[in-house]
């Protein structure tokens, strides 16, 4: 009987020890939420661009430049939000490939920032110019999602 009690105590202590370590492996949901918010911002930027391209909203060169600057700034922050403790949680759709292929992920981020910078430098003044510049930036969406997002 005493032996059973000792075993039970040992098991309880072990269980408590395991529970105590859980917070240490809990995921960093703050950065995951931040990532998700920045992606929503990108969606808003794309929507604003699309409305001008379709003629639903009048084209405004200043608005166009603002879209490119927002995408550029958001991405500069976005790429810093993938610490090793943010692989799961909060329904993240981040693919394990982000951490497995860090160089390729960095290149994909460099590319959208370079394309956004080129669009800003081009400073499109007509709808046709804006269409070309935005098309190059927007191609990065699926270019990156092809490899680095998992649909759930």
């Amino acid at each position: 009987m005493r032996q059973h009690l000792t075993l039970l105590t040992a098991a309880s202590v072990a269980a408590a020890a395991v529970l105590a370590t859980l917070p240490a492996i809990a995921q960093n949901t703050d950065v995951i939420e931040k990532r998700q918010q920045l992606m929503k911002n990108n969606g808003r930027s794309a929507k604003a661009a699309s409305q001008m391209l379709k003629g639903e909203v009048a084209f405004d060169p200043a608005k166009g430049m603002e879209i490119f600057r927002t995408i550029q700034a958001d991405n500069q922050e976005f790429r810093t939000l993938f610490p090793d403790d943010s692989k799961t949680g909060n329904d993240t759709e981040a693919s394990p490939a982000i951490w497995e292929k860090k160089d390729a992920f960095a290149q994909a981020n460099d590319k959208i920032e370079a394309d956004a910078a080129a669009a800003i430098a081009a400073n499109p003044q007509t709808l046709d110019e804006f269409k070309v510049a935005f098309g190059k930036v927007a191609a990065n969406c699926k270019g990156c999602h092809e490899q680095f997002r998992v649909d759930k």
Binding site: G43, C141, D151
Partner: protein, 307 residues
């Protein structure tokens, strides 16, 4: 004496089993009447079938763009639970590709999964959908593919685990799971024409159900048509291939115009973008006509909703 009788009986049973396996797994080719005349293909119409069928997604390297997409020497490895498939060279190279194939050879591969030498092709090649293609469309596709640049060099052999590596055994798989040419979703005669065209493109050449529908036999069987387009586990690993019926929580809310816009641009109504393997598919769909994208969208709004 008794031992000898047993041995002979055992031997006869093994031979009978082998004979039965041989007969059941014999290649079943198309009737000659189900193949269009050899030189009847139209190159321009064939190009539409080529993009609808998405040949480049598996038979060209994934990073290929522009003219390089038309070099069909074989694509990236397709890594699945059964092992790794390597899509073969289907360029018109006469030795390494399919340049020496007749239209009948091509049609039997496309619609029966049978190679010219009588061996079975793996259903990673979606012949269970292509079986629904019209003979003339197969001939048109054949004519178009003859115009592509020949590529030399064979793709590597598949690396599959037992028992999937026994090609002959695919004859049994086909007996159980080979589809026929009939449509999956019944439509009445008064259904609008775009829906009929969309059904043909989705169920036949587009082979959408190969990934968007679950399979029977723990993923190794045929398409579960009772759950047509209801979504399924990603055959290449993590995540899900989404439900694309009107019952889908996400895609179900999209209008036909929004679906067609997604096929053309890769942007969802909320301006999220296409991702994963669907990127290749969307870029193929972008090469179809507006009318065909609208037809596919109209059909997707007409299929039975799935939860």
């Amino acid at each position: 004496m008794r031992l000898r009788t047993l041995s002979i009986t055992g031997l006869l049973l093994v031979l009978a089993g082998a004979a039965l396996f041989y007969v059941l797994t014999m290649p079943q080719r198309l009737d000659a009447a189900a193949i269009a005349p050899e030189d009847s293909g139209d190159v321009a119409r064939g190009e539409t079938m080529f993009w609808a069928g998405g040949c480049v997604s598996c038979h060209a390297p994934s990073k290929a763009t522009g003219e390089d997409q038309l070099k069909l020497g074989g694509g990236d490895p397709l890594v699945t639970d059964f092992g790794t498939f390597h899509a073969p060279n289907i360029s018109p190279d006469p030795t390494d590709g399919i340049g020496a194939w007749s239209l009948a050879d091509f049609a039997n591969a496309m619609q029966r999964g049978v190679a010219p030498d009588g061996s079975h092709l793996y259903p990673a090649f979606p012949y269970t959908s292509y079986v629904k293609m019209k003979p003339q469309d197969v001939a048109d596709l054949y004519a178009f593919m003859k115009t592509l640049p020949p590529v030399s060099g064979k793709a590597p052999a598949n690396e599959l685990s037992f028992p999937f590596n026994i090609r002959r055994g695919l004859g049994l798989w086909k007996l159980a799971f080979m589809d026929d040419g009939d449509p999956i979703v019944p439509l009445t005669a008064d259904t609008k024409d775009p829906v009929h065209r969309g059904r043909y493109l989705v169920e036949g050449p587009g082979h959408c159900g190969q990934c968007h529908s679950p399979r029977t036999l723990f993923g190794a069987g045929g398409i579960d048509t009772s759950r047509w387009l209801a979504g399924a586990p990603n055959p290449e690993g993590e995540g899900m291939i989404p439900n694309i019926t009107p019952g889908s929580k996400e895609v179900g809310a999209w209008s036909a115009d929004e679906l067609a816009e997604y096929f053309a641009t890769g942007f969802t109504p909320e301006f999220d973008s296409v991702g994963g393997r669907m990127v290749d598919v969307q870029e193929n769909l972008a090469k179809l006509s507006d009318a065909d994208r609208q037809a596919i969208a109209a059909y997707l709004k007409a299929v039975p909703p799935q939860p």
